[in-house]
């Protein structure tokens, strides 16, 4: 920690000088429409150069240019293009007012950088996905996130199936999810990337390894922050999709601005339903005639999934007392049948899960000169129920043999309720010292309860645990050389408060040392630096010593099969990222982007479930974990916003760092590649958009995407004859989609064929995923 503070002071000292660029002037200003409403994402560019930018949310733009006479072009879809000559001998402010035009431009030049591109080019290692261009054909968020560099989502089946998302090789609890900076759990424990309505999403930010303090997170491997659309106009966005395997999806997202008071009302509804009755190829069923298990194709028969998310948000923006103030209430409901265990030979025909969650929240934002303040509060009543009361052993014919055990874990009948009330408070203050320096202070309080009971299992003893986390973050930002140098240094304090009453089995649980109420503090921190040499070459490096506090299940057990371990430490990791990226505009209409990133993750005190002495009992323990190193790259090419191609490839290698076995002797798996995880994978997207094809202002987009995952072993690869080892075969999946939009994108129809060649694809433990599937979606967008 002391070393870190030294680095921090050195950093501040070295760059506290007020540096500025030479021989450049700044052209800045605001772009509004005729009603004076600031216009975001407007292109402001210099003619016949590659200099350009986009306006921000408040309509502001800023360009750094060489002094002289320039022709400035201001363009935006649906507005008349402004073209004007400006003599720039010194920095100047020029505002533009744009007039609406029924004639839409054929295309908008990519001169500057979109919001997502700017985020990608921050000092952190971050992916930013612009959801809007694909919203017409998108089924769920997982689809697009899974195609980004360094991310791998491993699903267990079809719509609504459990999934595991890894960022640069770290997954599970080490990745945290947020929506507009608040933990996604606040919408309910069943709400995930897979069922969130896509229409509400503007972009997704994926932080790899190094997570900004502003998110107030104890993520170890990274964080995903979903940013919802913050348009200030009235609109109605409704869509309905229907697809193979009885899949239906409907989303409604609207905004109404009451002109007199400025009250904004935003209703959102998202519904998913699927029977997921896709064909399972080559599954075993018993054939009485031949007295053998034979391989057949059978449809899944117990995998219905239903999700509902409804939300109503109301508030004001741009008032004297608040830049933004919103209150919202939401309800989510998930009903899910379970079809298989962790292997597909374990067929389940009756067990199911249900969850319901109510949430109320409020957020407030206000800027005072150089100080920007924000605060959010949220409380969630989250209840889930796992029903496992059938004593049956099912097969893939859908037949069953009566048994005397439940389906999920071979124990007694169970109707297990989990009530997890969650209270979150998040506050932040940003202070811009001057144009080069700023600091921010963030605080997050997360109080989670975990109350369990069982309606039918008399042996289950109800428990009620509470965990409280306080995460405090202090960030210092620098920006020099007209933004070419950007750096960030942050420290985080993680405080974990527990209230432990139990004192039985002290020799197993360590409860004697925990002693009732206790509170522990852990420090972490990091830094990030980006320097742009030229547009075509920029480099960035970031580091974080990250900490993840144990979850209640890990610390306090589950009351049945998991012993508490009150001596559990948080897991920690030293994460390092090093990247190069650049934009290149070789000629008019052509733009090219590339990035290459290398990363290292040194995870320690990894929290892992280990089998305890008694049959079936588990306990979470701290173990030396893994070292992950890898490299990833992405290239994108865009021609006049018509033709786009993207290719990325990721390689990561995770090595086991457990030197000794439980008996104290050397472990054979030390420094071996950790099994059952994809380590080389690639994605490619190509699309072409035709404009004004059948009528004015229509678009036809044809897109093709391809995903490839190299085969990998399910077990330690060095041991056992290769021919006897289970492995997930190489996966090649092609998807094709066609989207037609007309009437200024008011009407949109898309058709998609996923897994075009009907490849048999697997994921965790060879759980088969759907084969070829079709999906049609109609979207109405009235703006």
């Amino acid at each position: 920690m002391r070393g870190f503070i030294h680095v921090l002071f050195l950093f501040i000292y070295l760059f506290s000088a007020n540096l500025s660029a030479q021989n450049k002037v700044t052209l800045s200003g605001e772009v509004k429409d005729q009603e004076g409403i600031p216009l975001s994402s407007v292109t402001v560019a210099l003619e016949n150069t590659t200099v350009g930018t986009y306006t921000n949310d408040r309509g502001y733009y800023s360009l750094t240019v060489t002094p002289g006479r320039h022709t400035v072009i201001v363009t935006s879809l649906g507005y008349n293009t402004i073209k004007t000559q400006i003599d720039l001998r010194k920095s100047k402010t020029v505002d533009f007012t744009m007039e609406e035009n029924s004639v839409t431009l054929n295309s908008v030049e990519v001169y500057g950088k979109s919001k997502t591109q700017k985020i990608k080019e921050s000092a952190f290692s971050v992916n930013a996905l612009d959801i809007k261009p694909q919203i017409n054909s998108l089924k769920n968020l997982n689809e697009i996130v899974n195609r980004t560099t360094g991310i791998k989502i491993r699903e267990e089946g079809g719509v609504g199936s459990d999934f595991d998302l890894s960022i640069n090789g770290l997954s599970g609890n080490s990745v945290r999810y947020f929506i507009d900076g608040m933990p996604l759990d606040t919408k309910g424990s069943g709400v995930s990337l897979a069922n969130l309505p896509v229409n509400i999403i503007d972009r997704v930010e994926i932080y790899k390894g190094v997570v900004p303090a502003s998110l107030g997170s104890d993520a170890l491997g990274g964080a995903i922050n979903i940013i919802t659309s913050q348009e200030k106009k009235n609109y109605l966005d409704a869509s309905y999709g229907i697809g193979s395997f009885h899949t239906h999806r409907a989303d409604l997202n609207a905004q109404f601005v009451e002109p007199k008071t400025g009250l904004i009302i935003k209703p959102t509804v998202g519904v998913n339903y699927s029977k997921n009755d896709y064909k399972m190829k080559g599954v075993e069923v018993w054939d009485e005639d031949s007295r053998k298990y034979i391989e057949v194709n059978r449809k899944r028969f117990h995998d219905d999934y239903f999700s509902l998310l409804g939300q109503l948000e109301a508030g004001f923006v741009d008032k004297a007392w608040a830049d933004a103030f919103f209150v919202s209430g939401s309800y989510s409901k998930i009903d899910k049948e379970i079809q298989t265990g962790s292997i597909q030979t374990k067929v389940i025909g009756n067990a199911e899960r249900h969850s319901d969650a109510w949430n109320v929240s409020a957020r407030y934002q206000k800027r005072f000169e150089k100080i920007n303040t924000s605060a959010s509060f949220s409380h969630t009543w989250d209840a889930s129920l796992t029903v496992d009361t059938a004593y049956r052993i099912y097969d893939w014919n859908g037949d069953f043999t009566p048994s005397s055990r439940n389906e999920l874990n071979g124990r007694g009948r169970s109707m297990r309720h989990y009530n997890r009330p969650m209270t979150i408070f998040r506050g932040g203050v940003d202070y811009a010292i001057n144009r080069h320096h700023s600091v921010s202070l963030n605080y997050l309080l997360n109080r989670t309860g975990n109350k369990r009971r069982d309606d039918v299992d008399e042996t289950f003893e109800p428990t009620n645990d509470v965990l409280t986390k306080h995460i405090l973050g202090l960030t210092y930002n620098q920006s020099f050389f007209d933004g070419r140098w950007e750096s960030t240094v942050f420290i985080k304090d993680y405080i974990n408060a527990t209230s432990i009453e139990q004192n039985d089995l002290a020799w197993i649980t360590g409860s004697e040392d925990a002693k009732g109420h206790s509170s522990n503090s852990y420090w972490g921190g990091g830094l990030g630096l980006r320097y742009t040499f030229w547009d075509a070459l920029a480099g960035k490096v970031s580091y974080e010593h990250s900490v993840r506090l144990p979850l209640s299940r890990e610390l306090l057990g589950n009351g049945t099969t998991i012993y508490p371990n009150l001596a559990l430490h948080p897991e920690s990791s030293d994460n390092i990222n090093l990247g190069l990226f650049g934009n290149w505009y070789p000629a008019y209409g052509h733009s090219f982007y590339y990035e290459v990133n290398g990363f290292l993750r040194f995870v320690d005190d990894y929290i892992q479930a280990t089998v305890s002495e008694k049959e079936g009992m588990m306990q979470y323990e701290n173990i030396p974990a893994v070292h992950v190193k890898g490299i990833e790259g992405e290239m994108r090419y865009n021609w006049k916003n018509s033709f786009q191609i993207m290719v990325n490839c990721s390689y990561n290698e995770a090595r086991d760092q457990k030197k000794y076995k439980t008996d104290g002797k050397p472990s054979a798996t030390y420094n071996n590649r950790v099994p059952n995880r994809p380590w080389v994978y690639s994605n490619a997207d190509v699309s072409y958009t035709f404009h004004n094809l059948a009528q004015k202002e229509d678009n036809l987009r044809i897109g093709y995407s391809w995903q490839w995952i190299h085969w990998f072993y399910l077990s330690w690869e060095a041991y056992g004859a290769l021919e006897s080892k289970s492995r997930i075969p190489t996966q090649n999946v092609s998807n094709l989609n066609v989207t037609y939009s007309w009437m200024k994108r008011r009407y949109n129809v898309s058709l998609e064929c996923s897994n075009l060649f009907d490849a048999t694809v697997y994921d965790n433990y060879k759980l088969q995923k759907p084969g070829r599937a079709f999906f049609a979606k109609f979207r109405l967008f009235i703006n």
């Binding site: 018993w286 007295r291 053998k292 298990y293 962790s342 292997i343 030979t345 374990k346 004593y391 052993i393 097969d395 043999t401 009566p402 048994s403 005397s404 055990r405 439940n406 071979g410 124990r411 007694g412 042996t459 049945t560 280990t610 089998v611 002495e613 049959e615 079936g616 076995k661 439980t662 008996d663 104290g664 002797k665 050397p666 472990s667 054979a668 798996t669 030390y670 099994p675 399910l714 077990s715 330690w716 060095a718 041991y719 056992g720 004859a721 290769l722 021919e723 006897s724 080892k725 289970s726």
Partner: protein, 424 residues
């Protein structure tokens, strides 16, 4: 010098002549052919686990390697790029007889018969569960004859003891049912598997079981002994014993470790233990005499302190036992486990020695690293200060020689001996 040479040649000539004269008296002048050793008809399977001990967690990588000989001199046994990976199909808890493995596999919906050869699992025959269903790993078994296997366990709710009789030639279910025994008084359920054995002398199955007051609670001492007619499966007696609180390792039957044996006279021996008032355990090796239905109250052949873990009958009243010296550690991995030979007649035991030294203490409580074949007992050890290895105990002479070495780094779980697939 010349005189000596002359004398030497004279003696040599005399000896040669005499011997030639002796052979001439022989009825059969053709020389006797060298005896050719009989081809070995069995092999050893070494079971190891990576990551953590096998048997208790599904995700543990379990590997099996077939070895013809466990004698010293061959290369160190390694699983690098070698051995059959079995854990996605088979569990470590298995029944071995002749050429085959029998078990309720990981899928938990059938009875299976396998061989392991050429680094793969060969499914010989399977049988879907009938009325009675069993959990992987949690059952006990006994062989009535070479082709008749009885599987027995408490059901999931623990309110019944169920059984299935299998014809292992074709794996058909001969019969299945529920054992007619009541729950022990005051108890709410039966414990997991119990221990089943077969006494050929009077065609009886003998079942040892315990009751519990709740699913998560401890078992209630003392255990019961049920004598069952192996033909009809009718219960003939059901007696609570007074000598030991529990049987050893009752959760997995004898799928991992053996705790019973029947001697040449038909006496049945069982390893059990009782809990002392101070919380320590006292182990027992107790006996039901041939034809009897309850334990001999005067007999306990295990007089050592510490826990008796597993048994391997060597014949002629001698038992190879794996036991724990508690003061050296009571954890699964404590290097406190040792091998001793128990004399069932004298009720004495003596540590197995090599070169005059006791075999080193081993780590790993749930291991059965012993096999008896061809007059020899193969004893696997996992010492603290060196790599795991095998010692070979000659049952007749008591001599011990050092056997094969196993590379460091694995959890050395089992030695199983099986007939070769091409054996008669």
């Amino acid at each position: 010098m010349k005189k000596f040479q002359l004398l030497f040649w004279a003696l040599l000539t005399t000896l040669f002549t005499l011997s030639f004269s002796a052979c001439s008296d022989d009825d059969d002048p053709t020389p006797e052919p060298e005896p050719t050793p009989e081809a070995q008809t069995y092999h050893f399977d070494i079971w190891i686990a990576l990551d953590k001990h096998g048997g208790m967690g599904r995700d543990v990588q379990t590997l099996v390697k077939s070895i013809d000989s466990l004698k010293a001199g061959s290369q160190m046994i390694s699983f690098e790029g070698d051995g059959t990976e079995v854990h996605s199909v088979m569990s470590l808890e298995t029944i071995v007889k002749g050429k085959y493995y029998y078990q309720v596999p990981v899928s938990g919906d059938r009875f299976s018969k396998y061989t392991l050869s050429n680094n793969k699992i060969n499914v010989i025959q399977e049988q879907k569960f009938g009325t009675n269903t069993y959990d992987t790993r949690k059952y006990t078994h006994a062989w009535i004859d070479d082709n008749t296997l009885v599987i027995m366990a408490s059901n999931g709710d623990g309110d019944k003891i169920i059984w299935t009789k299998l014809n292992t030639t074709d794996m058909t279910i001969i019969k299945e049912g529920v054992l007619d025994i009541p729950l022990p008084e005051g108890d709410k359920l039966f414990s997991t598997s119990g221990i089943l054995n077969y006494r050929k002398s009077d065609n009886k199955l003998i079942y040892f079981y315990l009751g519990k007051k709740s699913k998560r609670g401890d078992t209630t001492p003392f255990f019961f002994t049920t004598v069952i007619n192996a033909e009809t499966m009718a219960v003939e007696s059901n007696i609570r014993n007074t000598m030991a609180h529990q049987m050893v390792g009752s959760a997995y039957g004898e799928l991992l470790q053996k705790c019973t044996l029947v001697d040449e006279s038909g006496n049945l021996y069982l390893a059990g233990f009782s809990e002392n008032e101070d919380g320590t355990e006292k182990s027992h090796l107790i006996r039901i005499k041939a034809g009897e239905k309850d334990f001999d109250p005067s007999y306990d052949a295990f007089t050592n302190a510490g826990k008796l873990v597993s048994l391997e009958y060597l014949g002629d009243g001698k038992v190879l036992a794996y036991a724990r010296q508690d003061e050296l550690g009571m954890e699964i991995d404590s290097y406190s486990h040792y091998y001793t030979i128990i004399d069932l007649n004298s009720k004495t035991s003596s540590r197995v020695k090599y070169n005059g030294q006791d075999l080193p203490y081993s780590g790993g409580r749930f291991s059965q690293r012993t096999a008896v074949v061809d007059g020899k007992a193969y004893i696997g050890v996992n010492p603290e200060s060196s790599n795991p290895c095998v010692y070979i105990y000659d049952i007749k002479t008591g001599n011990v020689e050092k056997g094969a070495d196993i590379k460091e780094g694995y959890y050395f779980e089992q030695i199983r001996v099986l007939d070769n697939e091409d054996a008669e």
